[in-house]
């Protein structure tokens, strides 16, 4: 178990290393300020990016020495990822992004709600729809009217507003 390369941990380490290198690149791309300053805009980004790169390298080193996941019971005992649930949930999120522009928040979020509930094993689409529609509409009104968040009315919100005899904005 010791001294075997832990591939997932290695990938995680490499990802951090990559983030560090990208930050270094971005730090070097900061234009030098024409203004006088004791510490320019580049200094701290360089320090942070170097630190992240060094941490990534250390994580890679640890992964090459066997990694850390195997030593954490919770991680080691976990079963394989549930790809079906993850897939459904991911599809719900994608559907939301596609629908939210053309159809508005409530319809997009309802579609997402049904997909996410299905991902976690809910079998009754009809019941989830019945929960989701009033919930998303209620949340929309709460945020728009209560918190003053500016989210344009979509198809469903417009319909409800018109039924209430109010102007659609």
């Amino acid at each position: 178990m010791i001294n075997r390369i832990a591939v997932p941990d290695l990938l995680a380490g490499l990802f951090v290393l990559m983030l560090g290198l990208v930050s270094l690149w971005q730090a070097s791309a900061i234009p030098v300020s024409p203004l006088y300053a004791q510490v320019g805009p580049k200094a701290v980004p360089y320090v942070v990016a170097s630190a992240l790169t060094a941490l990534g390298a250390l994580l890679v080193l640890e992964a090459l020495r066997g990694g850390w996941s195997a030593n954490i019971a919770e991680l080691a005992e976990a079963g394989p990822p549930n790809t079906k649930a993850l897939g459904l949930l991911g599809a719900g999120l994608v559907l939301n992004v596609i629908l939210i522009g053309p159809a508005g928040f409530s319809i997009a979020a309802t579609a997402q709600f049904v997909m996410v509930a299905a991902a976690f094993g809910s079998r009754s689409v009809a019941r989830d729809l019945l929960i989701a529609l009033p919930l998303t509409l209620g949340v929309w009104f709460l945020f728009v009217q209560g918190l003053g968040v500016n989210i344009g009315a979509g198809l469903l919100e417009g319909l409800v507003l018109r039924l209430m005899g109010r102007e659609v904005f």
Partner: protein
Amino acid sequence: MEAIDGLTLGFTHALTIPNLGWALLGCFLGTAIGVLPGIGPALTIALLLPITFQVSATGAFILFCGIFYGAMYGGSTTSILLNAPGESGSIITALEGAKMAKNGRAGPALATAAIGSFIAGIVGTLGIAFIGPVIVDLALLLGPAEYFALMLLCFVTVSAVLGGSALRGLTSLGLGLTLGLIGIDLQTGQPRMTFGLPELYDGVNVVLVAVGLFAVAEALHMAWRHHAGEKAEVRPVGKLMLSRSDLRRSFWPWVRGAGLGFPFGVMPAGGTEMPTMLSYYAERKLVAPEHAHEFGTTGAIEGVAGPEAANNAAAAGILVPMLTLGIPTSATAAIMLSAFQSYGIQPGPLLFETQGQLVWTLIASLFVANVMLVVLNLPLIGLWVRILKIPTPQLYAGILVFATIGTYGISNSVVDLLLLYGIGIIGMFMRRFDFPVAPVVIGMILGPMAEQALRQALTISQGDWSVFVTRPGSLAILVVALLALLGPRIYAVWSQRAAA
């Protein structure tokens, strides 16, 4: 006494109808989200940040603090009845509390948790009122160099000292610091780390990151680990009464827990995990011999009373560095700090002077919230149990509805949603590989403040870096930070040598 005058002023404002209303709403919401697994105070306050454009600062902070305190109360209910901690500070409570519930003693466990939380909340809030002004006086002596050193210490403790691994904690912090750097540099106006994208000039939104890490990542990670048919059983509550012997056995653990928790919260070591753990071990050692066998078997009431008190006292303590120094030591405090910033208020030593009324009203409201919470929690336990029974599919689907609107509401941009999902995916892998997420949020909010302090210090010293080691205050703090970072490792090496 400054504290007495302040509290008198505070109570006259806290006891007005609107402010009582905010406190009640906060306590109610806080308990509900504390009860629900998978949703915590940091996420809730992040989602409610738009409220800062609508209501006065006082109202908003009373609401936020009610949520913060309420979540601590609610978390224990979940720990005891479901054996799954609702909040990180309630992990220890689940040890004995769930065993008591299993043996039909859920009622006394809930009662001792609620009353212990109340006592500790009152002790902790008194601590804020009396220690806060003292720390402010000290803090006024600090210059930018000391501030920078203090923030470094905070970075070290939240990332390297707490949690499983210093390496992974520091990596999380580095990620947060990097996110915090994105955008226009305030001193020189240069865009930094933006890949040349104008969309990033304003920086990455804190709400987006918090929602991504706490809601989307949590849902994705749960889906990853989800297995059909897994549903924990909610234990029946039974009678919510403390017998005379329960009361006698709970009293000293409450007091000790409160005494242990508060200083831990105040120190920039942030977090409620460590004091609850210490309180648990202390009670286990100090328990009367005739009850010692209950630990780990039928569930000992001392093991619920102590940690729950420690948890709430630490939560109160966390507000001290936030209000007096402007330094957040937990993710929730960091989000509250960004709420202060959106009002244009800079928490720090001057807050008690410039915003005295706000601060003291807030502190007085914390007392009010504590009373409300103990009243809400015990008689309304039936309601919280029903919230606890919301099935997982609908719960996570609902959380994501709030995540969507909270993010989309920032600027009606699909790009924000994609960024949210991207951060959610990173957060999911962070959970998978045991990287803590709180340092990301703290780094993102505290990082820019630390950079500002650094640059101010160096401007004052005319670019002389030795200022950090020649000023005694700064040097002392840096030495502590270094010890906190390296101490455990040096000790490990030393004890290995000693053993060999």
